[in-house]
Subunit: 224 residues, 2 copies
DNA sequence: TTTCTCAATTGGTCAGACCAGATTGAGTAA
DNA sequence: TTACTCAATCTGGTCTGACCAATTGAGAAA
């Protein structure tokens, strides 16, 4: 009886998960237990689990356990397919595309924004202006602002692209430089002008203002 | 000084790879060496490397070493997932995105085009000029021309997007209006001017010419 | 120069240890 | 009985040091 390798263990679990022998959400035995069951060292089990985490099959919670990831089956069925592509793309290239898209869909947004879109933008601004907002919150709201503008274009391709790009940026936050408190205030004022000009359907001015904001934002990739 | 975790190491390498600090194909230091450099145990390094292998960033060869992997985008799963997304998108929205992308990546293409890119463009033009070319052939070559310009940007996100968009257009050819024989000749002359101006790194003129072509092309969606 | 040899290096695996946070269950207090 | 407390136990994360077998590269032998 040959002894098992990390690769063997990995394939074993993939098979079990895919054919349903292990059901979604189920908790796996502990690493120590598994290492006994498969008669391999704990390291081997751990490395297999690491890979399966990265591949989206498992989800390990520190000091609690490893679970069969529910994300996996949803993803396989759903068309969150785009996300996978964007998530693996080099961030520099992605930011370049983001800039191209954003600086050019503003006019679509201005022309197509509806009452509902303005409502959402307005709600977001309120949140941004709240007193006890943290920089992390603000960072998220900033991204949301861009996303809402994208939504105003009512172009589903643009919306989906911007959605996954936003998520990617958010989960790679450490790559971007923090914006200070004063930048925040300046930004919010800018956002208000943008919305105001959108309501007036003033394409040129909106575009100018938005581009102004974009330039400060996209210049904040660390070390580029 | 907090000690580093597997997660830290992983993110460190992703960052280095994505911003190009570590180049594709490069060999990493050995696990033992890395564990000294980062002042963590070999297990921690190994687990990070495992994940990065699963994510497609690294490729580890037993008893030889770990290399930066060139295939983040060769991954079949990514490609097919992006394709799926694009294939299901409304064609009108897609064409809007295409127009935004194309009319804005020209400057990148001009600045980054290499000898090899010009070679491919030149070969394509030759095919276009051949006597017994059918309209179907020409239609395909036209799309290829756009794709080659996209490739000249050397931005993998742009390249992949344009590739799937091209495929989509090609398989929905019936939605577009045929271009006559004379348009073909006019186009080819335009293409030559574009390539000429790219070689001269004349961004402004190239952009103008390309946009001219784009307008005629994107205006041919039936019933829009 | 070319070929051969062998020790150093490499990734894969193992065993056993410690840590800190999470979980659990028995015992206590209400 | 019910609610709370807290210590023993369990879990994943990390560390150390070891052995294996394949690869590699420099020096010896031809």
């Amino acid at each position: 009886m040959e002894s098992l390798t990390t690769e063997n263990i990995k394939k074993h679990f993939i098979k079990e998960i895919e054919n349903g022998s292990i059901s979604v959400g189920q908790k796996l035995d502990s690493e120590r237990q598994l290492s006994k069951e498969f008669k391999v060292s704990r390291s081997t089990i751990r490395e297999a689990i690491r890979e399966l985490n990265a591949l989206g099959y498992l989800d390990t919670v520190n000091k609690v356990g490893t679970y069969v990831c529910s994300k996996y089956l949803e993803n396989a069925r759903n068309k969150s397919s785009l996300k996978e592509f964007i998530d693996l793309a080099p961030i520099i290239d992605l930011m370049e595309v983001r800039y191209i898209l954003e600086s050019n869909f503003v006019d679509l947004a201005v022309n197509r924004a509806e009452k509902n879109d303005f409502q959402k933008l307005s709600n977001l601004l309120k949140k941004m202006k709240s007193k006890n907002i943290t920089e992390t919150d603000y960072y998220k709201y900033d991204l949301d602002f861009h996303y809402l503008i994208a939504k105003s274009t009512h172009n589903v391709v643009i919306v989906e692209l911007m959605k996954v790009i936003r998520d990617r940026i958010q989960s790679n936050r450490e790559l971007f430089i923090e914006s200070g408190k004063q930048t925040m205030e300046k930004d919010i004022a800018l956002f208000e002008s943008i919305i105001e000009n959108m309501k007036l359907k003033n394409v040129k001015e909106t575009k100018k203002l938005y581009d102004e904001h974009l330039k400060t934002v996209t210049a904040t990739i660390k070390g580029s």
